[in-house]
């Protein structure tokens, strides 16, 4: 077992560090609550309140509110963060061909991923509703949801793997199928513009399970007597679906579509691990990382983060409004 000794010492050291971290956290929280418990009678309520909310509020202020404000400001400064440049970073964004492709790709993603995932997820949920083995069939499609985007990226890199025909056997299933049918193997991840679609497939593969589980639960909530009534009135399966089931699950559909849209706008890991944003496949979240952390262009990176925020904002607002209405109806 040569070479394993450093591993064990490393392991002990890191777990030791983790235990120290956990103990330190427990000590701090414990001390805060203990002091609040022993606070002088006068104003005790105030001190206790402070003890409960201050840690979270402090972290959020320093780690989220301040940074978000600062990023918004940085978007109007140059790469050093010292010189005010007005809207130059945004002008750069909308005049740079690369970045325009990136923005376009993001729009393609957000148009296709929610649509495809929801349609396939809904169809699947209906097909397997009340069938034998529904649980197993559900887990199979739902499983990708537990996997990291990086893991999914690797899984699909192998599906898409390309070998020059005549030089070697294909090891990617998709190209092998093409070859079996007598076609030419394709470089799925290199040939623009279709490579973006093959990345989108990975995201759809992950999100369909999420859509399916939510919609399946919603379908089971549609009152059976209404479906029964429609059936007695002579509605066929398709009419039952469009006139009864669909209106019944409308609010869940909105939640599913908006949730997947938001996740899609922020997609980073898939692009990062599959193409690195090369071959015209970059998206806003990936470009933001590249500009800010690979090229030290903090101005550009911040501007892209602001754009991302502006794209997410209307979807969230819509989502919240729908949920509010839902509550009023109740």
């Amino acid at each position: 077992m040569r070479g394993l000794a450093p591993f064990w010492s490393d392991l002990v050291e890191k777990f030791g560090l983790m235990l120290i971290g956990l103990a330190a956290f427990a000590a701090v929280v414990g001390l805060i609550l203990f002091l609040a418990d022993r606070a002088p009678k006068k104003g005790r309520d105030f001190w206790q309140l402070l003890a409960f909310v201050a840690p979270a509020l402090l972290l959020l202020t320093v780690g989220l509110i301040y940074p978000a404000v600062r990023t918004t400001l940085l978007a109007f400064f140059d790469r050093t963060g010292r010189e005010f440049v007005g809207f130059d970073n945004f002008v750069w964004m909308f005049t740079q061909p690369d970045i325009l492709i990136t923005l376009g790709n993001t729009l393609i993603w957000v148009a296709l991923v929610p649509t495809l995932s929801t349609v396939i997820g809904l169809a699947y949920a209906i097909f397997i509703d009340k069938s034998k083995g529904e649980k197993v069939l559900k887990s199979l499609v739902f499983m990708p949801m537990a996997i990291s985007f990086v893991g999914a990226g690797i899984i699909w890199r192998f599906m898409y793997e390309f070998r020059e025909q005549g030089f070697a056997e294909q090891i990617g299933l998709l190209n092998q199928i093409i070859v079996w049918f007598g076609g030419q193997p394709q470089q799925f991840l290199v040939n623009s513009p279709f490579n973006t679609f093959f990345l989108i497939v990975v995201m759809v593969w992950i999100q369909t399970g999420f859509a399916m589980v939510l919609l399946s639960a919603a379908i089971k909530g549609v009152p059976v007597e209404i479906i029964e009534a429609a059936r007695l009135d002579g509605a066929n399966a398709w009419q039952q679906f469009t006139n009864v089931t669909l209106p019944g699950i409308r609010s869940t559909l909105v939640v599913v579509v908006t949730t997947i849209s938001i996740a899609t706008l922020k997609v980073f890991d898939i692009v990062r691990s599959m193409t690195g944003g090369n071959f015209d496949t970059s998206v806003v979240a990936n470009e933001m990382y590249t500009q800010a952390f690979n090229r030290n262009e903090f101005g550009y990176g911040s501007a892209l983060a602001v754009i991302l925020f502006l794209m997410v904002l209307p979807i969230v607002v819509y989502n919240v409004r729908v949920m509010r209405k839902q509550k009023e109806i109740r």
């Binding site: 890191k14 956290f25 929280v29 990023t71 537990a146 893991g151 009152p223 059976v224 869940t252 983060a305």
Partner: protein
């Protein structure tokens, strides 16, 4: 007391925007036999979808047990023609040391060391804050809670640059475990506070009133009533947060420094896949090592997992 938990648990199982109608549930059981919509065509379509969705993962799993030569020379489906089995790849990626080796053992440890505190810290702080917002009356309580809810819409990309500057400039902890813990805690708080608040606010007021009358103060109520009653919610949200951290790449890339000292599995996998040609035989085994914990959680705790996911799907 268990009744309270049950009721709150039932709420957790309800999908978003859906009312529970016990009448419908009863009826559906009775009418089940009559309402078989599933035609043979639909069944076939469902099976095709299930197969398409399963094959990519299955193929990778098969690959991970083939010899390096086989992985390089032909596809995993050849295993049905010439069966073979080896654990060589797993041994290689886990234990081989050296600059060019995958060295996943260290990264696996890092992932655990990152994910456990990064799941515990936010849910504990969130439970405290959620209790205050739900049961301690104070001025501005509503406004602050709405603000925290609104913070969910800030993509974490907005916070990366300044937070990194704080970590490296002010605190000097960039590239250490505490930096990654704190970053994950901060990014996890808005959603966990919101979800814990939803749960804790449902605890009946009489239970808490009774404790107050007995002379318990907030700290005592928190430990004796809130924590025990919130355990199901804590489990679901904790599992969700744990998996979110385990699967995360972006926060790790920015705050971990990217070395075997701190960086998690996802980061190393992204590096390996960056040189796909050279690491081809290692990647299937490497990917499965990173998937094993999420898959165990998924199959053994599916109920909690689904709940956490339904509740936490808007995170990020």
């Amino acid at each position: 007391m268990t009744d309270v938990t049950d009721k709150a648990e039932a709420k957790l199982d309800r999908p978003l925007g859906q009312k529970n109608d016990p009448r419908a549930a009863k009826l559906s059981k009775a009418a089940n036999a009559k309402l078989k919509l599933t035609s043979p065509g639909a069944t076939a379509a469902a099976i095709i979808i299930a197969v398409i969705w399963t094959i990519p993962t299955f193929g990778l799993l098969v690959s991970s047990f083939r010899t390096p030569d086989e992985i390089r020379s032909n596809g995993w489906w050849n295993i049905f023609v010439s069966p073979s089995f080896t654990l060589e790849n797993y041994a290689d990626v886990l234990t081989t040391q050296g600059a060019s080796s995958a060295n996943l053992g260290s990264y696996f440890v890092n992932s655990i060391v990152i994910a456990i505190p990064a799941a515990l810290f936010p849910i504990i702080l969130a439970t405290m804050a959620a209790y205050a917002f739900a049961w301690i009356k104070f001025k501005g309580s509503g406004a602050i809670f709405v603000l925290i809810f609104a913070l969910q819409i800030v993509p974490l990309q907005m916070a990366l640059i300044p937070l990194l500057q704080i970590f490296s400039g002010v605190l000097g902890i960039s590239g250490t475990f505490p930096a990654v813990w704190i970053a994950h805690t901060i990014f996890g708080l808005p959603l966990t506070i919101f979800l814990m608040h939803n749960f804790i606010a449902e605890i009946p007021g009489e239970v808490i009133e009774a404790a107050r009358v007995d002379g318990a103060n907030h700290t005592q109520i928190f430990f004796r009533i809130i924590i025990p009653l919130s355990l199901p919610a804590l489990a679901s949200i904790g599992i969700f947060q744990f998996l979110w951290v385990w699967n995360d790449l972006l926060v790790a890339l920015v705050f971990s420094g990217g070395t075997a000292d701190v960086a998690p599995l996802t980061q190393r996998l992204a590096e390996l896949v960056g040189n796909f040609g050279r690491n081809q035989e290692r990647l299937p085994a490497a990917a499965f090592i990173s998937l094993v914990i999420p898959l165990i959680v998924f199959f053994s705790l599916q109920r909690y997992f689904v709940r956490g996911l339904l509740a936490g799907s808007t995170k990020g």
